[in-house]
Amino acid sequence: MAVLLAIWAVVSYGCSILFVEQLNTIMIGGFPLGFWFAQQGSIYTFVILIFAYFFIMEKVDKDYDVND
């Protein structure tokens, strides 16, 4: 979970805000990369994170036999 939260922080605050200027110098198609992270990429990452958490916890609960 700490890893997932770290990814959350790096993508949303790092790529989209703190380093957006540096990343904007890179163009992917018609998108400056930092701008893309802020308006598209981080949202996709968030969705993936929550589903990843679901599957990881599913496994943990089974292994420790505390599932419902």
Binding site: M1, Y13, G30, Q39, F46, F54, D61, D68
Partner: protein, 582 residues
């Protein structure tokens, strides 16, 4: 179109009417994760998301990302740190958790006041959204529109409670997402030849003077030509600083995770596993709209500049004059050339105040004082999404579809909020604090009556919108971030947190945030805390709350053993389906 969707909502409500408080507050705890995900998405995406957000991004460019990031990122916190644990705890409301975990009715009462305040703030905004849609598309008076909306919400919320609302919201989600995507696909295809808007706004333009250029590059050029900052440029001069953007994003994220009407949705699913899964579905459904919004924003900006900038007023498109009548758009001919000069800066002071006369070009004359700039156009950001299909010349049925979508977004959020208000008062105040012996029947009745009262108050705000709606929204998020989030997180993850710590934390977080916002918004004070604006100060309030709670908890005597044991059980998922039967 609107009539069809309304009768759909009403029939769902009739089928899912309820008789128990459990059904009324949390839909009996038996909603499937997929349905709950959709309902949460509809509940979350309000008139602000549907109508205003793309418009804001359209005018703000990169800085508009604060809303995109803030209103989605919070779900990660919610899914990982709150939802599953609160579901295991298994009560009806957020104040319930705060009251039981901190073994204190004072804490319960403070949480209750926050929940009610946050929810009312929100409802007022929804009703304004309903008013805008009705006044432009249904050609009825705004007041009649609000009354119709109120009657419908009251009917299905009081009849079906949470159960009725949940299934109506599933239908409303379908309506609003189709209404959002159809015009986006059509416009994307028209401008860039790419069907998918998410890819389209990074593609090249197909016709016109800018053919062959990337859309975003073109927007940067157009913006610079008109004196605005580049569309994709972060932290531009006169805009928000990096620290400010950082704090606003954090306050919105944490605020989202602390909003009572979102949290309560996770009580409606059968178990902890379903709570985790439905958070995933909720964000997935939200992401469909939230990734489309920035695309719509850039298409709208491009279309708007192309269709009206440097165009003669007499030759302006029809959407221009029809929106002018609503008072959300106005043109003043400063240099008397009959041409719409759109540039950076304000056209005049305040919102349009039409004198009722028309000028030499047929424009409606305003009584406002001209602002010191060459800009001649006043345009309200809220009209961008609604006007977008008209600006892009899409057929009429698309335009009425968008109206139905806007109403679905406003009504679904309003109903979710009204239920939170009603359950907070009937459950937390009436049942837990005033009359512990109330029967099931009495509590249901109080719940229904409270919905009635809440609808009337909301309707009053819809008909007489307070001039400070925009200001109070900063309040809602700031309060949710600085009050609920820290005490819930610490309540789950730190057994040592005591009631004294939680109460002092909540109070100091709220008081700091409130004073800061009131000073800026109502007394025109300077943002003295490193230039952080009122919208972002909730992030600082949250840190203060965390620190105060931690320190005071260490200084006071530890919570009773029963509470510590309760915290232990919350962390294990087994047995959640039983815990709701209390």
């Amino acid at each position: 179109m609107v009539g069809v969707t309304f009768s759909l909502y009403l029939s769902i409500a009739w089928i899912s009417r309820v008789k128990t408080t459990k059904g009324f507050y949390v839909a009996g705890g038996g909603v499937s994760p997929l349905a709950n995900g959709m309902a949460t998405a509809a509940d979350w995406m309000s008139a602000a998301s549907f109508i205003s957000m793309a418009g804001l991004i359209s005018f703000m460019g990169y800085t508009g990302s604060i809303y995109l990031l803030g209103w989605t990122g919070g779900y990660v916190l919610l899914a990982l740190m709150l939802a599953p644990y609160l579901r295991k705890f298994g009560k009806f409301t957020v104040p319930d958790f705060v009251g039981d975990r901190y073994y204190s009715n004072t804490a319960r009462f403070i949480a209750l006041i926050c929940a009610i305040f946050v929810s009312f703030t929100y409802v007022a905004g929804q009703m304004r959204g309903v008013g805008i849609v009705f006044s432009r598309f249904l050609e009825v008076d705004v007041n009649t529109g609000v009354l119709i909306g109120m009657a419908i919400v009251f009917f299905y919320a009081s009849l079906g409670g949470m159960k009725g609302i949940t299934y109506t919201q599933v239908a409303q989600y379908s309506v609003l997402i189709i209404a959002y995507l159809v015009p986006a696909f059509a416009i994307s295809t028209k401008i860039t030849g790419t069907n998918i808007p998410q890819i389209g706004f990074g593609s090249t333009i197909t016709d016109g003077v800018h053919a062959g250029q990337y859309l975003l590059t073109t927007l940067n050029q157009l913006n610079t030509d008109l004196g605005f900052a580049e569309y994709t440029k972060p932290f531009a001069e006169g805009g928000k600083s990096m620290l400010d953007v950082f704090c606003i994003t954090m306050a919105l994220m944490v605020g989202t995770a602390g909003l009572p009407h979102v949290i309560v949705r996770f009580y409606t699913v059968p178990n902890v596993r379903a709570a985790r899964l439905s958070a995933g579905f909720a964000l997935l459904f939200i992401a469909i709209l939230y990734t489309t919004a920035p695309a719509i924003a850039s298409f709208a900006r491009y279309n708007m500049i192309n269709s009206i900038s440097e165009v003669e007023y007499r030759a302006a498109p029809t959407w221009f004059t029809s929106w002018e009548k609503t008072g959300l758009l106005a043109w003043v001919d400063k240099n008397h050339d009959g041409i719409i000069n759109y540039q950076a800066g304000k056209a005049f002071i305040g919102t349009p105040d039409f004198t009722g006369e028309t000028g030499s070009h047929g424009q409606l004359i305003v009584a406002n004082t001209y602002a010191d700039s060459d800009n001649e156009l006043y345009i309200d950001r809220d009209i961008m999404v609604l006007a977008n299909p008209e600006i892009a010349n899409l057929p009429n049925w698309v335009i009425s579809l968008v109206a139905a979508g806007g109403l679905a977004a406003a009504l679904s959020t309003a109903s979710g909020l009204l239920l939170v208000i009603s359950s907070s008062i009937s459950h937390d105040l009436y049942y837990r604090l005033i009359n512990r012996n109330a029967s099931e029947k009495q509590r249901l009745l109080v719940g229904r009556v409270m919905i009635g009262i809440a609808v009337c108050v909301a309707g009053y705000f819809g008909i007489h919108p307070p001039g400070f709606v925009a200001q109070v929204v900063a309040f809602a998020f700031g309060l949710a971030a600085s009050s609920f989030f820290p005490v819930i997180v610490l309540g789950i993850f730190s057994k040592r947190t005591t009631k004294e710590g939680a109460i002092c934390g909540m109070v100091s977080g709220i008081v700091f945030t409130m004073i800061y916002i009131i000073n800026i918004k109502f007394f025109g004070g300077q943002p003295w805390c490193f230039g952080i604006s009122a919208e972002g100060i909730g992030a600082v309030g949250m840190l203060i709350n965390f620190m105060v709670t931690l320190v005071i908890s260490r200084l006071t005597k530890p919570p009773p053993q029963s509470v510590q044991d309760m915290v232990d059980t919350i962390r294990y998922p087994r047995g959640a389906s039983a815990s709701i039967n209390h």
